[in-house]
């Protein structure tokens, strides 16, 4: 089960498991982002390369226009995946 929400401040929150079968649901929301914003991982329990690739594409598009995503509240397991993938220097990551 996966859900993506955007609050009034523009913060994106991810909930559940972002696997390859759910990535199109996330893409529909992330493609709407046109300026810098935070992505809250507090309720995300799982992510695979499909989700990483989607976040990477969003980040690349925003960086090209002078913006970027800030990722917050990553679980230790997800943070480790970001480090292995070399994404810890592609994204701003905050605890």
């Amino acid at each position: 089960m996966f859900e993506i929400k955007r609050d009034a401040n523009g913060t994106i929150s991810l909930h559940g498991r972002l696997d390859a079968s759910q990535v199109n649901n996330a893409r529909a929301e992330l493609d709407q982002i046109t300026e810098s914003c935070e992505v809250d991982f507090a309720e995300l329990s799982y992510i695979s390369s499909a989700g990483l690739g989607l976040l990477f594409g969003t980040q690349k598009r925003l960086v090209d226009s002078g913006g970027g995503l800030t990722l917050i509240n990553l679980s230790p397991h997800i943070r480790e995946i970001f480090q292995i993938a070399g994404f810890d220097h592609i994204f701003e990551i905050k605890d």
Partner: protein
């Protein structure tokens, strides 16, 4: 789906349709195993990720193959053995996947190849073999449990 073993489920196996949407059913199978074996959360995350990456690779690269892909996992002492078998497919050796430039900055970075790269980083062994008869591809993975 089949399960077996004493002292908790020590082995599970299932055949899944060749569709990305089958991932949820695969996770359900894996959960019976990780719960039965009291596998810690970090290792369970790793098992899910490894199986998802290998399965989605088979679905994407072996289009036109057999209807079903077999996923099996077994515990022997402190080692986990995973196996994915695909039939009626062309050879696709994971070693041929380009390794991503993980140290590159975002301007030079390309998104591809991350799935197999993550798998290799998270397991002890990844082996591939292909039998011409039956056009059968098999990927096996070994991971040692930390505790």
């Amino acid at each position: 789906m089949s399960t077996g073993g004493v002292g908790g489920v020590t082995a599970v196996s299932g055949e899944f349709r060749r569709e990305i949407e089958a991932i949820g059913e695969i996770f359900a199978l894996l959960e019976t195993f990780t719960d039965g074996q009291k596998i810690d959360e970090k290792t369970a995350f790793c098992i899910n990720l490894v199986v998802e990456e290998l399965f989605t690779n088979m679905v994407r690269h072996n289009r036109g193959g057999g209807d079903r892909i077999t996923v099996s996992i077994e515990r022997q002492d402190n080692q986990l053995h995973l196996e994915l078998v695909d039939t009626d497919v062309e050879p696709f050796d994971p070693d041929t996947v380009e390794v991503p430039a993980v140290d590159a900055d975002i301007e030079e970075r390309r998104p591809g190849g991350l799935g197999i790269f993550l798998v290799r980083k998270m397991v002890d062994e990844l082996n591939y073999d292909y039998e011409t008869e039956g056009r059968r591809m098999r990927i096996t993975v070994t991971k040692t449990l930390e505790n």
